[in-house]
């Protein structure tokens, strides 16, 4: 009897703390999210140690990145900490383990809101999942700034500024450069040719915009030259591009592959399938993970290169990192589009500080640059090519 009473009391206490901690929402994933947040804590503490050395620290900001999965985010966090030190504010950076851990990020966002910071910087994994939390933040008077990935359907007034690369334009830039290199091959082709696109997911604004930007621009350029284009593969991209065309009669088939999880192995598997097809002449990977997946798949096939006339498949990537950079240098990868993650991180903290100081702010687009073996050492490009 005593045991039962004790067990009942402890269960009630546990549920009560859970309810209190989750602000009334009892999610099944709450307990797991608590544990996952504690794992993120070691990473978080390291960042805090770096930034609380500044004097003053008037404002406290919470920054939530999309994940710690690639060096792109490490560069962004470096920018965040740099700006925090210069401006004398305190930042606390967290993020889920993988960019597909959408529920984790929403929980982190809710925790950040509960910490009542002076502002929140967010790079959303899923454009629709954060809407409720954003409403809560706005009700509590916490300004939110989005970076890297915007949230187009955010409640009016909740997101005060979006600092991101024009992702749609960046995808289009990749298409411009890839099409220019493949133009002759396409014009002289006697049978349909294939362009592969690997996107790590179909949920975040940055990836979907880049993917669609590439598809739409490539289609536009090809159609202007009198060729017909069809888009096949993952339903999201097929349904949201401007013109999916007809596969049976198309001269160019754009095949879009999206793996089940945002990991390099799965991207590599999807890329292998397309690289193995006889009619493939070009590939596009819309972020670092996808581009590295394409390179891994090429490890066994050896079909990538820079000489379309000789039969090489031209691959365009995104972002930087040591693997992509060395692939571009040695000619395996044709080129890539880089963003300015460092600048993005810096501008996020600057904007949050400006808001806290009472200034009005607006969206800040950061630039994306095409780089290949010919210009990657240029002074304007090189600083963005993080390791």
């Amino acid at each position: 009897m005593k045991k039962k009473v004790l067990a009942a009391v402890m269960s009630v206490a546990m549920i009560a703390t859970l309810l209190a901690g989750c602000g009334g929402k009892s999610e099944g994933t709450a307990a797991l999210a608590e544990e996952k947040k504690e794992e993120a804590a070691p990473a978080e503490e390291k960042k805090e140690e770096a930034s609380t050395e500044t004097a003053g620290g008037n404002y406290k900001f919470e920054i939530i990145v999309k994940s710690y999965q690639s060096s792109y985010w490490q560069a962004a966090v470096t920018g965040v900490n740099q700006a925090a030190e210069e401006l004398g504010v305190t930042v606390s950076c967290t993020g889920p383990n993988a960019e597909s851990d959408i529920a984790d990020q929403v929980n982190m966002l809710n925790s950040a809101i509960n910490n009542a910071p002076d502002g929140i910087g967010l790079a959303a994994c899923d454009q629709d999942a954060c809407l409720d939390a954003l409403q809560t933040a706005m009700d509590k008077g916490i300004p939110v700034v989005c970076f890297d990935s915007g949230i187009p359907k955010a409640p009016a007034g909740s997101v005060l500024s979006t600092i991101a690369t024009d992702n749609y334009g960046a995808g289009a830039t990749a298409a411009d450069n890839l099409y220019a290199a493949l133009k002759d091959k396409i014009a002289n082709a006697t049978a349909p040719v294939r362009i592969g696109e690997v996107n790590q997911e179909a949920t975040s604004e940055s990836i979907t915009s880049r993917g669609l930007g590439f598809i739409d621009k490539f289609t536009e350029l090809a159609t202007a030259d009198g060729k017909s284009v069809a888009v096949i593969g993952n339903e999201y991209y097929v349904n949201n591009c401007k013109n999916a065309g007809d596969e049976a009669s198309a001269d160019i088939i754009i095949e879009v592959a999206v793996p089940a999880q945002t990991t390099v192995e799965l991207c590599a598997t999807e890329a292998s399938v397309i690289l193995n097809k006889e009619d493939t002449i070009g590939m596009f990977g819309s972020n670092q993970v996808a581009a590295e997946g394409i390179l891994t798949a090429n490890g066994n096939l050896g079909v990538l290169g820079c000489d379309a006339a000789a039969g090489d498949i031209l691959a365009a990537g995104f972002d930087a990192g040591s693997v992509i950079k060395s692939a571009i240098k040695d000619g395996t990868m044709f080129g890539a589009v880089t963003q300015s993650p460092l600048a993005m991180g810096i501008k996020t903290v600057e904007t949050l500080t400006a808001i806290a100081n009472g200034e009005t702010v607006s969206d800040i687009p950061t630039d994306g640059y095409w780089y290949d073996s010919t210009n990657m050492e240029d002074a304007s490009i090189a600083p963005n090519l993080y390791d």
Partner: protein
């Protein structure tokens, strides 16, 4: 006249109760899958596809060889997936950022695996935590540890052609323009060695004994605690080896990944005949079971199935495998 003595009940020998029958079934499934994909996709039939399947399977096979031991004891080791990433990050960090030679980084990765394996063993064997819980906890610990070791950075072990990249040649060697999956040879050797260990050495036999009947084994005077710990140490050791295989095949290792790898290894072992409740299993079977999973993972995209269908089908195959295991147990029990 006395009634005729009852004849002893006819022993029903079903195909399921023959030893090694599950392995045969799995081998047939592997061949069937290979034929199926080859027929339905011309691009699947290429030699390079076989190379890719091999490459992407090494780390899972190595994990499966190791995890067979805890599974046979009736337990499980969930920490091998995130552990693999953690060991790779630790070793890689020393190589890339501290300038250690590659072999030293590899050694650290493997020793780290043995360390966590020992921790698992102690938690399960001495402190009597349920294996599922104990290894789930070490899984979470290694997930965070990996990030700490690499200071949050992803690590790229030396890429092909650069200094210190000889470890990639262990798994794939180019002779006269053609690439050969050398790693498969090592895998076969390891399978043979560990099969010998399982069936003909104390460690192996007592592991099986612990899985069959722990009480009886203890009462026989065997140091059950030690051998129970050893099962997890072996699992950790192979997770360390798997971390090297993963780093050799994939360009960058990212912190926070790895969750899910262990399910592929454990699923493969169970498909291959390791009993879900412990007490029986073979290393060769685990190898074949992992190939079923790898074939599905690599082959399904070739027939045009989107990623989500791949996961559904893999799950269904796993259910099928467990059902065969249960049926097999039922048949042997009705003798």
């Amino acid at each position: 006249m006395s009634k005729a003595v009852n004849k002893p009940a006819e022993k029903k020998v079903s195909v399921f109760s023959k030893p090694g029958s599950q392995k045969l079934i799995v081998l047939l499934v592997v061949i069937a899958l290979f034929v199926f994909f080859s027929v339905f996709s011309t691009n699947f039939r290429k030699y390079t596809t076989v190379l890719s399947i091999m490459d992407y399977s090494y780390y899972i096979v190595l994990m499966a060889i190791g995890v067979t031991f805890p599974l046979i004891t009736g337990g499980v080791d969930l920490s091998i997936g995130t552990g693999l990433i953690c060991y790779s990050l630790a070793g890689g960090y020393l190589i890339v950022h501290c300038g250690w030679p590659t072999w030293a980084g590899m050694l650290v990765a493997v020793l780290f695996g043995v360390l966590i394996g020992t921790l698992n063993g102690v938690l399960v064997s001495i402190m009597n935590l349920p294996p599922f819980l104990a290894t789930l906890c070490t899984c979470m610990i290694t997930r965070g540890l990996g990030s700490i070791c690499s200071k949050g950075f992803g690590i790229s072990w030396p890429t092909s052609g650069s200094e210190g990249s000889w470890f990639r040649d262990i798994f794939k060697v180019t002779i006269g323009g053609t690439k050969y999956p050398l790693g498969f040879l090592w895998v076969l050797i390891l399978v043979a060695v560990m099969a010998f260990v399982l069936n003909h050495t104390k460690i192996g036999r007592y592991t099986i004994a612990i899985g069959s009947n722990k009480e009886a084994t203890t009462l026989s005077g065997i140091n059950v605690k030690f051998y129970h710990i050893m099962a997890y140490v072996i699992s950790g050791f192979f997770a360390g080896l798997a971390s090297i295989a993963y780093s050799a095949v994939f360009s960058t290792v990212q912190p926070g990944t790895g969750a899910g790898f262990e399910l592929e290894a454990i699923g493969g072992a169970i498909i291959g005949g390791v009993s879900a409740s412990g007490g029986s299993g073979t290393i060769g079977g685990s190898l074949l079971g992992v190939f079923v999973i790898c074939l599905l993972k690599t082959g399904l995209p070739y027939i045009g199935l989107q990623a989500n269908w791949q996961q559904i089908i893999t799950g269904m195959v796993l259910i099928g495998a467990v059902m065969v295991d249960i049926l097999k147990k039922k048949k042997t029990e009705t003798v």
